[in-house]
């Protein structure tokens, strides 16, 4: 499974990678902002199984990235992983096409559960 981690904090990407490396066969790509991620994703459209996206990032924020991805790709699983936890933000992300939403701070169990939930739902569909 190819997982793309998009977060402007390298520490956060390392934490996410460490937690998600428990998923059998998981491989990782990373980007530090939305623009860098969009370039990589456009170069390999449909090439990732799961993308974790932070909201507040320089150059291009996470919600813009989600909208840009969904213009061309409805299938790749997207999870917003962010400190933004207001209902209006969650609704905005869902409308933009994220499959799940995880609020920081999270522990390993919460992130793993959200990812497993997302994968199971996609498998059942």
């Amino acid at each position: 499974m190819k997982i793309f981690l998009v977060d402007d904090s390298r520490t956060m990407r390392n934490i996410q990678r460490k937690i998600l490396s428990e998923i059998p066969g998981a491989t990782f790509c990373e980007a530090g902002d939305g623009l860098e991620a969009l370039t990589a994703i456009s170069a390999q459209l449909g090439g990732f199984d799961l993308i974790l996206v932070d909201w507040n990032m320089p150059n291009m924020d996470g919600i813009t990235l989600v909208n840009k991805i969904r213009e061309k790709d409805k299938k790749t699983l997207l999870i917003m992983a962010t400190t933004e936890a207001e209902k209006s933000r969650i609704l905005e992300a869902i409308r933009a096409g994220v499959n799940n939403y995880v609020v920081k701070p999270f522990n390993a169990e919460t992130l793993t559960e959200k990812v497993n939930q997302t994968l199971a739902k996609a498998k059942a569909a």
């Binding site: 402007d8 904090s9 520490t11 934490i15 507040n56 990032m57 207001e86 920081k104 701070p105 999270f106």
Partner: protein, 172 residues
């Protein structure tokens, strides 16, 4: 007869409590550290000195800033708990980790504060024994915190803006 006006508190508890709760939650969930909150104090001109600060700005319905400030040994120890590895304070990853901690505390606090505020991407200031000056219009409250990995302070300098009726369209 002259009426003596009761002095207004420097910062409203409605603003401070979400930051205290956010600090406890972030340190518990991300670092597995319990945080003991000590008696808050109002920053004076000769405020306490720190070596490392992660600073987040607020705009919109809340304006000002919030910061996590540390002395260097505590910052190194706390960052090691967060990142899972020890880092020198000169490493770019060290600043990244401090910034992300501040980002999570501010973001978590924002959730419990009324209104529609935005937070900035974090800034990290690393130096030797500096003090962040508080502006008179923005009193700053320092909340000293203790953990097993070291002590730090949450500095809150935020004002809640008055709501503008019917601003931004209708609500349902």
């Amino acid at each position: 007869m002259t009426q003596i006006e009761k002095p207004k508190p420097a910062l409203d508890a409605k603003i401070i409590v979400p930051f205290i709760n956010a600090t406890r939650e972030v340190f518990k969930r991300m670092l597995s550290l319990e945080t003991e909150i000590c008696r808050p104090l109002l920053k004076t001109e000769a405020g306490p000195h720190y070596d490392v600060t992660g600073l987040i700005g607020f705009s919109g319905s809340l304006i000002g800033s919030a910061a996590l400030s540390f002395e260097e040994p505590a910052a190194v120890s706390i960052v090691a708990c967060f990142a899972g590895q020890k880092m020198e304070s000169t490493s770019p990853d060290f600043a990244d980790a401090v910034g992300e901690l501040a980002n999570m505390v501010a973001g978590r606090a924002k959730r419990d504060l009324a209104g529609d505020a935005s937070i900035t991407i974090p800034n990290v200031i690393i130096g030797k024994s500096y003090s962040i000056a508080a502006l008179r219009a923005f009193p700053c409250l320092i909340v000293p915190c203790r953990t097993k990995a070291g002590d730090f302070a949450v500095q809150i300098s935020i004002k809640q803006m008055a709501a503008v009726p019917n601003a931004g369209g209708s609500q349902t």
